[in-house]
Amino acid sequence: MASEQIRYLAPPTVEVTKKKYCRFKKTGIKYIDYKDEKFLLKFVNEQGKLLPRRLTGTSLKYQRKVGEAVKRARHIALMPFVADMMK
């Protein structure tokens, strides 16, 4: 019948994407410490490269600070410049 509803063979997968947010804005962190390398580990991939904002959700203002902190940590040998399997 024409009035019959559409039937799916497999149940349609509805993607529930969680909205990303800037953790610094949300928790009110104003300063990112370069000496805290365990915290900075959240913002780099296994190779030690900085993750883009589109993955971490960090706002531009704090992404710049994250970058600065990671670079300082690298200079003072708390974090590697290049690595394999950091995590």
Partner: protein, 138 residues
């Protein structure tokens, strides 16, 4: 009377500007791991004394001790870390860094100016550390 008032206001202005010249800084340096404990102490003391001599005020000092480096520096995999936080006139930094470069015992150094958020963060961190210490003792 007016002249004296003017003088007072001028003096206060001068005071403010000289105070503003004293920024708060934080410096970390890595010393060569082949040094003995005494040599490390002496080396760290030399830089602390130098900072003090040049009209700076030490806010905080912390010896991190021997640490593993994330990558080798001068073919060494370990190093002695030392951190000093101080307020100083800006021209001290250049002289301090020259001294770092001249000293063979220093493998790496980093000096940064702290903004107000950084100062607040460091103070909070220190306070937490002392409280924790007090807890463990008690």
């Amino acid at each position: 009377m007016q002249v004296s008032n003017l003088l007072v206001s001028f003096a206060s202005l001068l005071k403010i500007t000289t105070m503003e010249n004293h920024k708060q800084y934080e410096t970390v340096f890595i010393m060569n791991p082949v040094l003995s404990d005494e040599q490390v102490k002496e080396c760290a003391q030399k830089f602390v004394a130098m900072i003090k001599d040049q009209g700076a005020k030490i806010v905080f000092e912390n010896n991190w001790g021997m640490r593993k480096l994330a990558y080798p520096i001068q073919k060494k995999t370990n190093g002695f870390y030392y951190l000093v936080e101080f307020t100083a006139p800006g021209d001290l930094i250049a002289r301090l860094e020259v001294e770092y470069r001249r000293d063979e015992r220093i493998m790496r150094f980093l000096t940064i100016a702290l903004d107000k958020h950084a100062i607040a963060y460091n103070e909070k961190k220190r306070k937490n550390a002392t409280e924790k210490k007090a807890d463990t003792v008690a």
